[in-house]
Symmetry: C2
Subunit: 349 residues, 2 copies
Amino acid sequence: MAPAGKIEAVDDHGGSLGRARALFPQAPQPFIDLSTGINPHSYPLFDLPATAFARLPEPGRARDLREVAAQAYGAPAAPNVVAAPGTQILLPRVMALVSPGRAKVLGPTYAEHARTAALAGHTVEEVSDFKDLANADVAVVVNPNNPDGRITTRAALLDLADGLGRRGGLLVVDEAFMDVGPMRESLAGDVARPGLIVLKSFGKFFGLAGVRLGFAAAEHGLAARLEAELGPWAVSGPALEIGIRALADEAWQEEMRSRLAGESERLDKLLEMFGLWVAGGTSLYRFFETPTASELFEVLGRNGILLRNFSWSKSALRCGLPADEASWSRLEQALVIWKNGKHFKGLAS
Amino acid sequence: MAPAGKIEAVDDHGGSLGRARALFPQAPQPFIDLSTGINPHSYPLFDLPATAFARLPEPGRARDLREVAAQAYGAPAAPNVVAAPGTQILLPRVMALVSPGRAKVLGPTYAEHARTAALAGHTVEEVSDFKDLANADVAVVVNPNNPDGRITTRAALLDLADGLGRRGGLLVVDEAFMDVGPMRESLAGDVARPGLIVLKSFGKFFGLAGVRLGFAAAEHGLAARLEAELGPWAVSGPALEIGIRALADEAWQEEMRSRLAGESERLDKLLEMFGLWVAGGTSLYRFFETPTASELFEVLGRNGILLRNFSWSKSALRCGLPADEASWSRLEQALVIWKNGKHFKGLAS
């Protein structure tokens, strides 16, 4: 047997109603899950042909998906794009493109980058200063960052990629939330150069995380290596059909971006009414810090509203968008209960 | 960058209508695809909850799937079972459980075992004698074999697994077609021992290859290592729901086994009427050899019926089951055209 390496347990990532029920067994049902950054307004489902379930996914249809994705994300061309059953399953493969060495992750951020880099045999360091990434073998930047929405400029990333590329290193830019980010900072159009991989998530912006669809964009050689690891039929028939339609639907995307921007502004205002000042995030989630974070998490949880808390901070919380007016109203009521519990008198409403 | 290793192109595997149309552009539509071993009588589709597409797959539901799969396949318990988006994507990970060494595949068989073993850094040899597997670091046996249906006994496989396990090697038993095979020869119940992995395919027997669902069964340590590579949410929401229902539906499975047995017998009789003597296979595909294989493949193709031919043999063909009476009738008509083209006079019908 090969050495098993350091296998770390998969961390909790939010989004589990089972975990929410276990944490807050007395909470009113249904739970309102604000623990993810997944769009609550899913791309409309449509009748899928039975053959999408029954037959092996057609290679020609997989090519169509890569074409549409290259266009939607602004990648140079279809051969630069690799489609996978979720970005998640690509991460260990991306990390293994570089011989075991030093991986550096700009943090705090999504925990799976560090876990999968360790799985690929790298020593992993989380750094908080962008400049510290320069001497890594694999550098990871989530842009915009999850959970705090920090933006790294395209110029800075290209500079880093060039430096890493010259030494045979790799820059991994996770653009899971770039659909609602400042798209001028996307590196999807720059992946023809060596030493750069850009990751894209389908499920978050399109609100279809259960479909499992994600992409890597890279130069042809790296893309071919990832493709070989995934093998034929990596993306399911339903994911092919849904992905092709949704990624080509520019009108829906345009409208959704502006809708989400409006709703995230509404969320900021609501939170501010309760003295919670949003420090960052994207249109799909808001990030704030409060000394009473654990109490807020508890009170909202007991009232059936799940926020995202973090093992690395006692004060940080992330809050996704409520799906409908009933959810907005339950969020507001729960915040009132929390404020009242803190002997807060009188809402400025 | 790590060395790219020997990346072999993914071979054709049948099942592509795009390829069929390119080969036989004048063929009548629709093509009747008999090039796979996928059950044409799919497990009945049902309305999936929208949350199966929208939300992240729930960890509790993934546990349910492993429970049901362990029960259906006769594996010791749920922690021995790893669920993946298709067996295919597991293959490179299974091959990488053993440090690069000597992989031996009992062949001729499904081409992806050799390709993914090479991808994992092994030197790969195809052997035709079971005894030659004994000194491998990774040995692969497809049971029943694809395409010829050859059965290897459980006793022989356990003996091999024990020998390999003592030396830190691994026996991979691909039971993709064991749902219709002689189940007493399955090793799914034996995976608690070291050095053994059993692979199960959901899509073939249940006729839902587009869903992408497959399993590995192994001792806890190996299962945990595969699980870590797949990461959270490996199986899509639709695949979870469909898999849980179908794998628990013993009545459907029982009835389907007997239906497929009857239909494969009917196929043998039809082929024999045309002088094609079936040498083996399973209830999901039949295997035969004829000196005029390439002509038969051509003539049937031009008549819109796709068989599976093989790069390693000029005489071997594999034929799946027609889906309905219209398809049976078109197959028979195409065989008549082929026979007439060979100046065959008078059918014994």
